[in-house]
Symmetry: D2
Subunit: 344 residues, 4 copies
Amino acid sequence: MLINVGIIGATGHTGEVLIELLLNHPNVKIAHLYNSGKSSPGSQVISEVFPKFKNRLDLICKKPDWAEIKKDCDLVFLALPHTVSMSFVPKLLALGKKVIDLSADYRLKDTLVYENFYKTAHQDKKNLKEAVYGLPELNRAKIKSAALLANPGCYPTCAILAIAPLLALDLVDVDSIIIDAKSGVSGAGKKLENEYLFSEIQGDFRAYKVNVHQHAPEINQVLSKVSGKKIQVTFVPHLLPIERGILSTVYLKKASGYKLKVKTLTELYKNFYKTEPFIRIKPEGVFPRIKDVVKTNFCDIGIKDFGDTIIVIGVIDNLLKGASSQAVQNMNIMYKLPETSGLL
Amino acid sequence: MLINVGIIGATGHTGEVLIELLLNHPNVKIAHLYNSGKSSPGSQVISEVFPKFKNRLDLICKKPDWAEIKKDCDLVFLALPHTVSMSFVPKLLALGKKVIDLSADYRLKDTLVYENFYKTAHQDKKNLKEAVYGLPELNRAKIKSAALLANPGCYPTCAILAIAPLLALDLVDVDSIIIDAKSGVSGAGKKLENEYLFSEIQGDFRAYKVNVHQHAPEINQVLSKVSGKKIQVTFVPHLLPIERGILSTVYLKKASGYKLKVKTLTELYKNFYKTEPFIRIKPEGVFPRIKDVVKTNFCDIGIKDFGDTIIVIGVIDNLLKGASSQAVQNMNIMYKLPETSGLL
Amino acid sequence: MLINVGIIGATGHTGEVLIELLLNHPNVKIAHLYNSGKSSPGSQVISEVFPKFKNRLDLICKKPDWAEIKKDCDLVFLALPHTVSMSFVPKLLALGKKVIDLSADYRLKDTLVYENFYKTAHQDKKNLKEAVYGLPELNRAKIKSAALLANPGCYPTCAILAIAPLLALDLVDVDSIIIDAKSGVSGAGKKLENEYLFSEIQGDFRAYKVNVHQHAPEINQVLSKVSGKKIQVTFVPHLLPIERGILSTVYLKKASGYKLKVKTLTELYKNFYKTEPFIRIKPEGVFPRIKDVVKTNFCDIGIKDFGDTIIVIGVIDNLLKGASSQAVQNMNIMYKLPETSGLL
Amino acid sequence: MLINVGIIGATGHTGEVLIELLLNHPNVKIAHLYNSGKSSPGSQVISEVFPKFKNRLDLICKKPDWAEIKKDCDLVFLALPHTVSMSFVPKLLALGKKVIDLSADYRLKDTLVYENFYKTAHQDKKNLKEAVYGLPELNRAKIKSAALLANPGCYPTCAILAIAPLLALDLVDVDSIIIDAKSGVSGAGKKLENEYLFSEIQGDFRAYKVNVHQHAPEINQVLSKVSGKKIQVTFVPHLLPIERGILSTVYLKKASGYKLKVKTLTELYKNFYKTEPFIRIKPEGVFPRIKDVVKTNFCDIGIKDFGDTIIVIGVIDNLLKGASSQAVQNMNIMYKLPETSGLL
């Protein structure tokens, strides 16, 4: 099988990484690259934007061309900023194309929450209802038949995978969840702002958007569904002086009536994710580090029981399992390819 | 006034930083530099160990010479590894010298706890009883007359200063304290171990000694004293890919019956530390970053109320307020000098 | 075609990178992993040494087993320290195996020079004579039929590719060549030495082995062959606070009688490397940066004429084109596979 | 003595570092801080721009106020962008103030060269003629009586100090000088440009303005004066992924008739700089690294004879000896203070 894909928003961080992955995918042909149509530079040779693609991919990244998309693409990836994606999706779906959206536009089912965090009304409520949340480990069945896939955020991917087994088995106090998350700089995309200058980041470390980050409602929505109870986590993201990777340290209190059916939490996690190709559980008492997963689609998890408190640490590459390679994993599922194609 | 000081353990990280500070102190003469007497290299010109001291301090760092110390030193700083300091202290005190010990040997009053974490019996219980814990903001009165001063650990300094006001005013549930701490690599001293190689640290981030770090009992001891209740914090340190600085994110639950007498937690902290020259409270809703305090003796603190949960973030330079400059601050107090001498 | 490969020395930097590449190569099966047989840890599961290989490659890395090699391997990569490789090569060749040696043992044809730099007599002069130097761009014909391939050093690869066209066309004064080279830390392998600690490297930059580096004779040997004249370059390597990548700034004086047959040096370089899949020449006046080639097998080159002086800048990834991916490129040539297999 | 100083351009990198130094200087009172009067933010509390100055210096940085300067300042430092300084100098001199200009505006005596590199006509040729070039090691006598001091550039300071002794003694071929320079990012000031983002700098290294950098004519002007011959160096700057520090590797060919009157080049350099408090010559065969001088006003130099070629390596902190602390050293000389006041 050969999937002809287009990428809209090819010149950002996630676009760059997506191209890299798709170039190595045995079942994909990159048919066209587009920008948002609003960016000033106009057409650009992609290998001039990213010299590393020279002699590997010399496509021109240009304004979206609907006739071309209609004719040449089976699937379109949207690697666009939040609030921009939703202006493209209706038309792409109308053309019968499958869409994988890496922005936040189709993740939050509650449009009031969306509007509160993204400061704009949602323009495509109809398709929002049908969009499938693309976390394979929790939602694989629906992903198989998705026409519009909402690829998860980076912090949510890491936090949800670290917490879900405990909630699914009703082992923790749902009001006690604290997520202390740390991310590399690429999570912020390529914003040209003073705070992302080398001289500001190097040698520094800081919290930001303390307990008011836009990824908190995404985490709450998914974990509430897993647990069947309304969940509101405490979520504090921090900025690491590295390029890639997220590590989330999660603190939870045991539920009253806490009782394990297996010997250890490690065993419980291993069972829960037994058939997952991209989840690796650390041995008892060992916690993962960011280097374990950088440049991979893996999420590694360590967990330990400390009496009343449980500590779980999860790590992912924010640009891969937290964005582009998870999008490819979802594509593999949507097209019935082996889930690890192009990813191992 | 001129204080003649000796430094034992001058070639480590804290020794290096201490020399730098004392060279700039208007009331100090560095009389002698010593190693532990056990290190293999024997005598070394300090400006060959640290080329940056060339033409500024060309003393020889050699085996401790008791006759010389007796004759030339008023005060001796011990910048030695844990478990080594306690073999020097009795003799120094017997010679009538004042001692500021930067190791952990005289911090923990409970020798069972000490022995549990440092894997060796305490050899100087007599002086341990008299040692004064050198956190000026909580213990200034006793520091004034100390003969043996136990300089606090880096993580404890940052965490205690961030938490103490809430406990002193009985505002939080003492069982709820979670300290998620992140430190630069210099906190580990100069250990030649694989995990501290550039290729291991750069681009990485990881937790270590999860909830079993030797600084937890020091935090517990001091906070218990502040609150009058037995406190056992959850403490998870992480290793940042930077050289200097600690940031601690602290999560606490409000006590039942929580009630502020001032308008905001920020105001409460400002009042609590009103006369402190080295504590700076951030404006409401602002949190400090490591760059704010690197190369200074300041501890900056930000605090915010999130309903049931309070989040406090504190930052220090681990080698300065977390070690050497706090030792100088303590010296200033012991010698009735202005507390900021040589530090601003 | 399926090539069954063994790797001896699988736990070092180049071993790790080689495994990564071979896992993605469509014509390779990694049959066995071995250590040098002298290292203390004994057998190790490779995915415990490198957690990122967990669930991808779970072979045991053990003492070399000759019977096994004889039975299961077509080709053996030696990713061993210098002076160790030559104790393995004779036996492997005797078993009829092809060998790609990533160490320096078979690069220098003059054993006096070898012994001068590596402080030990060469133990396998017979095979040294037959060994083929594996720089495809200059030596592809011989590589095709090599039984023992000496994979080039990282600095030599970058410097030679940057300089060769000028020498081949006799355009520069052979006594004028200055190579100011800068390399990331991984070039030093995984040595546990104080100078490679994070706290030593981060924020620092320094020259080392100034004009006495062991790679200079390798550069001299190859360039002398290209030019037909005896060449002795001035070569100063420096250590960059990054993990991967080499950038070499080369200064040359024009030969008397200098005359170009094309319009620009850029054009000359483009012609010289016209059919090379892994050499990319920058447009006139543009110079490459390390990020252009990190994680690729490319060597990018920029060149400019400044009157009497010519400046050439070349960049490679020291672990890839400077080691492991160049070894794979050589394997592709030796086995008549497309030269870019597994590398683009 | 107490010098009342004003700083115009206090919110840039060099302004920040200058404040830090002057706060610790025993003979200085910082009277006022000003911006250029053109920057958008208007008045700013300096401790809000740089939180580390909180509780140490709480002046307001505002539009220049000429009446205030006239009344309160003895000396004014200009830490302004190039081409801006020259609009302030005439007025300040007219008020009888001494001026130390850290920009390039008064360094180049040839206004054609200035205009060629800075793309604007020089507006103050009268004062340019009287301006004294502030490299104390070569120009101390004139600095003593300077009214307008042109503080040297960072690259020129490092390169000139490394080369001057060889030229002064006529030991090298003046056409052979190659300076391969590497600088930390702070050399570029605080420009908000894509190329200075963390994600661009971290893990990268590149040359820039290859042989066309605006500091080359400054180097040529000073070295020509030292040697009495017209000098045109080859100068290639590179960008290091660190914040502070410059290392220059200099390659020179011996002059015909080369003859040393002392035993080694090291000895020659030690003699040449014998009375200099801030120049340190490395022992024979040892070369300096950036960490040796970071956060100091020192320039460390290593030198070695390699037959026809001489290699010299010099290092400085670009923000200190390359800018702000050299300005303080010049102030000390202008006011007959000990030259090391506030600097050791």
